[in-house]
Symmetry: C2
Subunit: 338 residues, 2 copies
DNA sequence: AGGGTTGTTTCAAACGTTTGCAACAAATAG
DNA sequence: CTATTTGTTGCAAACGTTTGAAACAACCCT
């Protein structure tokens, strides 16, 4: 038969006193007789009493839980962010509950609803690729639960956010490819309904413009997964063998491109130089190692959690804060031509 | 000012009826006047009423939440398992709350306590490397919450478990190296307080024994991380240049070894063949691609969740079930000598 | 008219905890 | 010897929801 956690009532019954006395004894309330206090505390310890968080949550209207909604946990970047969030949250006495949207709008809505009705104290969210309607976020706003967006913010919602300098990161990576004598660089871009997709693309384009590089119809390719890059590279190089540089919106895509390029017996970086974005741990496991833009996942998670904790202190008609982490170009062998 | 979710009481007040009537109206109870029902349902919809899960959880002593405790989310294997768990759990109307132990015993204990006092309906756990005491698991047993272990079970606890054929997987991988003419294979082994560490080591050793290969004092190296492997390889090959095969307890370690081997200007697989364990996605991003044993993360997660759901149905003095998934040797270029 | 049925609604308790206030005894003050 | 203080404990309400039982009116049956 299923037992249950020891409750204050159990202790009260065993000592023939009232639950309120037990409650006060446990928190060292001055009104309670020292002997009673000792009895209660000893018994509580012996029986391994732990306060029921659900009851507390209902009573105090706060759960000490932060809801985190991310696209996919299997991406190294997101699991890094989660680690950062968890660190800061735990240190402040909070736990996190993680939900995946799997890049699906419907799943994201479902997750928001589920978390809202679980008395969550705050949200940390990175939007799904496919999300183009925002009622569910508005709903959070109405209920008055603080939200922090990271990496993929929702522009329609008044909320704090943490992002990286996507534009600068992309600009720097592209400049680096240009300095390494790439004449014909293509960009594997992310979806343009996300700011990261737009900003990285613009950083790339502006670097080309600054150096008066021509922009062809094939310069921007919408391709942001490992598999797609593997298929796209052979097709692309067949038509445009002059391509000698690839800058991808994320590391997986860059690695997919690298593998496909090597299969065509082209050398990296001498024939084609490659750079990615994220600095995922795969970037130093490839051969050659991948040049990439460090997206600071762990720090991003920490900042997001910190912003949320701050916002939970003072929520009344606030001015949203945007924290922008600076990126760092990590130069490795996939792009350096001697 | 922070608002709040609409409650049954709010609706009751607005319609000048009692909360119980509202409750019944919402669930289409036959006792309720059709007109009242309609009023309630319309207003509830309009005000976007969602039942408060915390209140339900307290009342019904079930939360529809499954607690998942894993060592580290950033490992691809674990995030794959989580995806499998989430799929099955969500389909059954459950949500999961994920906690990381970071391979720390203390953090694991803390997580168990926190989840226990949150009215969790069940646990899915993979033990931390450093866990050698089990009171916290015993505690779960006492309270009567069902547990399923995966990948790294606790031998002292009566609980269902999902594991892979670690022994067979290791045996097959080792045999494969032998068939590819490796004469001097070392094993980078995991910690021996975990069954996976023991079983994979034994599978390796038994394959050697069967082929009457000598077992030297350096044949087993305790090394199970990327970094450690990178440091260990140069030291090891300096003393034992005759080594021509490495079988690592996981893919990260295998990749660490590969990179270090390549740095020494040795060829893989011709000088040294390498095999790993997990079939993480990094295994096909390396050059050469890594031969490995598929650990079936997603399926493992699904099975674990399914076992837990079953056990939640019938918990009374059960006989624990162990589900063993068969492994599959994925042969890639890092081990095939022509 | 008394009893019973039917339809509809409300009451009250329960889940575990906290906390303002009331209650009570004993001790002290006036 | 009453009045107040002090020390200690218990009551009851609250958080949001469900649910058995009670309540009540309106109706029908004998």
């Amino acid at each position: 038969m299923r037992g249950h956690q020891v409750t204050i009532k159990d202790i009260a019954k065993m000592l023939h006193i009232s639950p309120s006395t037990v409650s006060r004894a446990l928190k060292d309330h001055p009104d309670i007789n020292p002997q009673t206090k000792k009895n209660v505390q000893d018994l509580a310890k012996q029986m391994n009493y732990k306060p029921n968080k659900v009851a507390l949550s209902l009573l105090q209207q706060e759960s000490k839980i932060i809801g985190v909604i991310i696209p996919e946990i299997i991406h190294h970047f997101f699991s890094t962010v989660i680690s950062g969030i968890e660190k800061v949250a735990n240190d402040a006495g909070y736990h996190i509950i993680i939900c995946q949207s799997n890049e699906s709008y419907l799943k994201e809505v479902e997750n928001v609803q589920a978390l809202l009705s679980s008395n969550i104290d705050g949200f940390i969210i990175s939007m799904a690729k496919t999300t183009t309607r925002f009622e569910h976020f508005k709903n959070i706003e109405e209920v008055g639960v603080p939200v922090v967006f990271f990496d993929r913010p929702c522009e329609e919602i008044k909320a704090d956010r943490v992002i990286v300098e996507d534009y600068n990161g992309a600009y720097n990576a592209t400049m680096h490819l240009i300095e390494n004598k790439c004449k014909n660089i293509v960009h594997f871009a992310g979806p343009q309904n996300l700011a990261i997709g737009i900003d990285r693309r613009n950083g790339f384009l502006d670097a080309l413009k600054e150096k008066r590089y021509p922009i062809h119809d094939y310069t921007i390719q919408y391709c942001d997964t490992f598999k797609h890059a593997q298929h796209l590279i052979p097709e692309l190089l067949l038509v445009h063998p002059e391509i000698d540089g690839v800058f991808a919106v994320n590391d997986e895509t860059a690695v997919g491109a690298m593998i496909a390029i090597k299969k065509l017996n082209k050398q990296i970086p001498s024939d084609i130089a490659v750079a990615g974005f994220t600095n995922s741990f795969i970037s130093y496991m490839t051969d050659p190692e991948l040049t990439t833009v460090d997206q600071k996942g762990y720090e991003m998670g920490q900042s997001a959690a910190q912003l949320l904790l701050n916002r939970m202190q003072s929520y009344d008609d606030f001015e949203p804060v945007t924290k922008t982490l600076n990126t760092e170009l990590i130069i490795r062998k996939s792009s350096v031509r001697i």
